[in-house]
């Protein structure tokens, strides 16, 4: 469960004021709103990359507002993916598992499972240079899911993809939702993405965040 209580984030002259909402465990929520309203800032605050000036961020009821990103156990896929240039696809999937010092057998088993779900088994030995947009997207998603987080944050993950790849990724995200039950907050501008994936829809405006019925947005 993701819960924000009166969260205010300040960055220079930009202020994201008094945000409160709750996403229940296993729900897939989309966050929409016009550009520059602070959707990315909000995701960064939840995963700990941006300091929260006021309010609380709770993950499964625990106040993680002052926790470091490493301790929050949140999977994060940024808009630019930020893949690691010097690592192979396999090393991306293994990265978080190795940090947790899991045994070789567990790491191998987990990466095999994950690469099957994501359909990137044939790419494991490749470097990230030369991956297509959809392939890079799957690797970033795999990296974020590898340590089995209970919360997943996606920042416009499909915006740079062509229509058919985007449709494939919709299928994949639905499959991930079904197989992992991960609580997801997905930032998007796309109504079709919201329509296709969301259980709930939030709208970020100048005066704060509101939940809107899917039928009203989509």
């Amino acid at each position: 469960m993701i819960e924000l209580k009166g969260v205010t984030v300040k960055s220079g002259s930009f202020v994201l004021p008094n945000i409160s909402f709750q996403i229940l465990s296993g729900e897939y929520a989309v966050l929409m709103g016009t550009s520059g309203r602070g959707k990315t800032t909000l995701l960064e605050s939840i995963c700990g990359l941006r300091r929260v000036a006021e309010g609380q961020v709770l993950i499964h009821g625990r106040d993680v507002t002052r926790w470091s990103p490493a301790d929050r156990e949140i999977g994060y896929v940024p808009q630019d993916l930020a893949l690691f240039p010097k690592l192979s696809v396999l090393e991306h999937l293994e990265f978080a598992l190795r940090l947790r010092k899991l045994s070789r057998e567990v790491v191998t088993e987990r990466t095999r499972e994950l690469s099957e779900v994501l359909g990137i088994g044939h790419l494991l030995s490749r470097s990230i240079a030369g991956l297509s947009g959809g392939e890079a997207q799957r690797v970033a998603l795999g990296r974020a899911l590898s340590f089995r987080p209970s919360v997943l944050l996606l920042d416009e993950p499909l915006s740079a993809l062509d229509e058919s790849t985007r449709y494939e990724m919709h299928e994949l995200l639905r499959r991930v939702k079904q197989t992992t039950g991960v609580t997801t907050l997905h930032v998007t501008h796309s109504v079709s993405e919201a329509e296709s994936l969301a259980d709930r829809c939030f709208w970020l405006a100048a005066d704060g965040i509101q939940e809107r019925p899917l039928s009203q947005i989509c």
Binding site: L49, A70, P78, K86, F95, R143, A144, F147
Partner: protein
Amino acid sequence: MDAKNPRRSRRASDALFFLVMGGISATFILLIVLLLVADVMFTSPSEFYRALAKPEIRAALQLTLFSCTVAAILSVWVGTPLGYLLSRYSFRGRWVIDTLVDIPIVLPPLVLGLSLLILFHQPIAGWQLESALRDGLGFPVTYRWPAVVLAQFSVACAFSVRTMRVTFDQMNPRAEEVARTLGCTRGQAFWRIALPQASRGIVTAFTIAWARALGEFGPIMVFAGTTRMRTEVLSTSVFLELSIGNLDAAVAVSLLMVMLAVVVLVVLRVLGTGLNS
């Protein structure tokens, strides 16, 4: 006909563009080439080998290779974390540190040497850095080889910090941030993600630091002296040979320095960036 003339005039304008830009650029390239050609023409292979056979020059060559390498390694060792901190974090007083780093670059070389000398010999409440190192650790610095390394390091490190800062500035910090969400501490994100990406920058910083150390003269002369077979490096050899009127040997040593610099630059460029870059 009307359509043809503007085309011709644009072509002529492009040709003029390359002529002017190329002409201005060529003056500098020509100057460097002429300098090297003049040096080569002034000396002969026999003169060159005679100079190289002198035990003083051989000792200077050995000390130069050693001190430049140590100074460059130290410069990268210090320049990498400092460049990273300046690039990634905004903190109070950053501009002061930024300015301090540049001081060795803008300071007149003799002043830097003199400052090092004063630092090591200035008594502070009955305590003196040089005496403490000499008597306490058995490691005298002034007028010995460590002074050569320190004088070279003082300037080379400033260039290394600048190079590393630009390297980290050009790298997207996002990857390190994502690594932190995956479980990395800041230190792990630096070692596992930032540092491997900065490998080319590290090679460049090492190269620049090494080349800068090779050309260092003023601070070495003041802080380490120019004692033959002891603190003489190739740059001071040129000065010493000139001071005793041995112009042939001075030019031969200069050519040796040019060759050394070229070899180091080429080797490190091949190692660091691959031949195709």
